[in-house]
Amino acid sequence: MRTDDELTTLLRRGLAQASADLDPSPELVHAVRRRYVRSRRRRVAVAVAVPAAALAAGSGLALAGGGTTNHTPSHTAGAVSPPLAPSTEPAAPSTKPVSSTPVKPASYRVVLSNRRAPASCPANATGPVSKTASPRPGVWFWTNGECFFVGVGGADTKPGDAAPLHINGFPGLYSTLKDGVRTIYAPGIGGRGWWVLDMPANTPLDTAVRIIVPAN
């Protein structure tokens, strides 16, 4: 039997040899920076969009928060006030406007949603875009009142008869159409292997690709 020292020496050598020829891409710094900038933009957009939607909603949006009697959101000014009836009564003493209370997006939730799945969607299509493992790995999405399933898989090679498919921002796509099934081949990360997306021929290709394939 080997001693611990012999074993760990062998292990150190083995681990070092197995990974010796690996070097990160010279583009790594730029790739990380690009992703970082994109994720920051997304965060800013979400933080701005939620209060803006609340301001705009007026009648279609309810604010649900704790302690509604004391909760005075700053955006009630956007609500439609009832028309003033002509009156001979003396005007009520004017009240000072309620000072606005700072509200954070986390402090209320949007209770009205007009996103409902089309009737043709299966039960596991729970959102406008949802991943699923049933009946096989893929993605459900709905658009224009119709549901589409895109199967997602992988392959080492693409078939020779696959024709180039041009979608802006997604270079290197290929596609085949056989028996009413559209199959799209997208290059794997680092140029190894192919993503294989298969879908009914009437599926909006552009949408399917943009949902699943990372843009370049």
Binding site: L11, R12, A18, A20, L22, D156, G190, R192, W194, W195
Partner: protein
């Protein structure tokens, strides 16, 4: 400007080779290792202001956690055939047979935590305490996981004749 200074670029350039190799040894898949490192560095970028004094432990921990979560997205990418121990893997020419055919496949067969302990201790040369900090567990757990992992490797490396003798003795 994106708020990241040139020191971030320097950190990425200096640390990414070791992080990539660690990720590769943890996942056994080069493509996945590259994804893991990129995502880990993105997490570092998000916390850069807070951790710029000592970013390496955070990055290392991110790599280990992302590698552990590999099962979650195993269907998201095409399967690759260059993993350690698989037929397509081309070993370095001077690697000996024992390493190539027995030890490395045995390391890849270990449970994720035991593999992580071995990689952190014997590839990254971290102490027991540092390994425990990266894995978020106690030093006792690191020691016991190391012990179990080395025992399994010892069995895998044992001569069949020697193994038979031990079986008889037991």
């Amino acid at each position: 400007m994106d708020g990241l200074g040139s020191d971030f670029d320097e950190f990425v350039r200096d640390s990414s080779p070791a992080l990539l190799r660690t990720a590769y040894l943890l996942t056994g898949d080069r493509g996945h290792a590259e994804d893991v490192v990129q995502t880990a560095l993105l997490q570092v970028a998000r916390k850069w202001r807070r951790i710029r004094g000592e970013p390496t432990p955070y990055a290392r921990r991110a790599v280990v956690n992302l590698a552990k979560n590999r099962w979650r997205d195993r269907f998201r990418r095409p399967r690759e055939s260059t993993a350690i121990g698989e037929p397509g893997y081309a070993p370095p020419p001077d690697a000996d047979v024992l390493l190539r055919q027995v030890l490395l496949p045995a390391v890849m067969e270990l449970p994720a935590r035991q593999r992580a302990v071995l990689v952190l201790r014997y590839f990254q040369d971290l102490s027991v305490e540092q390994t425990a900090a990266v894995l978020g567990c106690s030093t006792g757990t690191v020691k016991s996981q190391t012990h179990y992992a080395l025992s399994k490797l010892r069995v895998a490396l044992a001569d069949p004749a020697e193994q038979k003798e031990n079986d008889h003795a037991n």
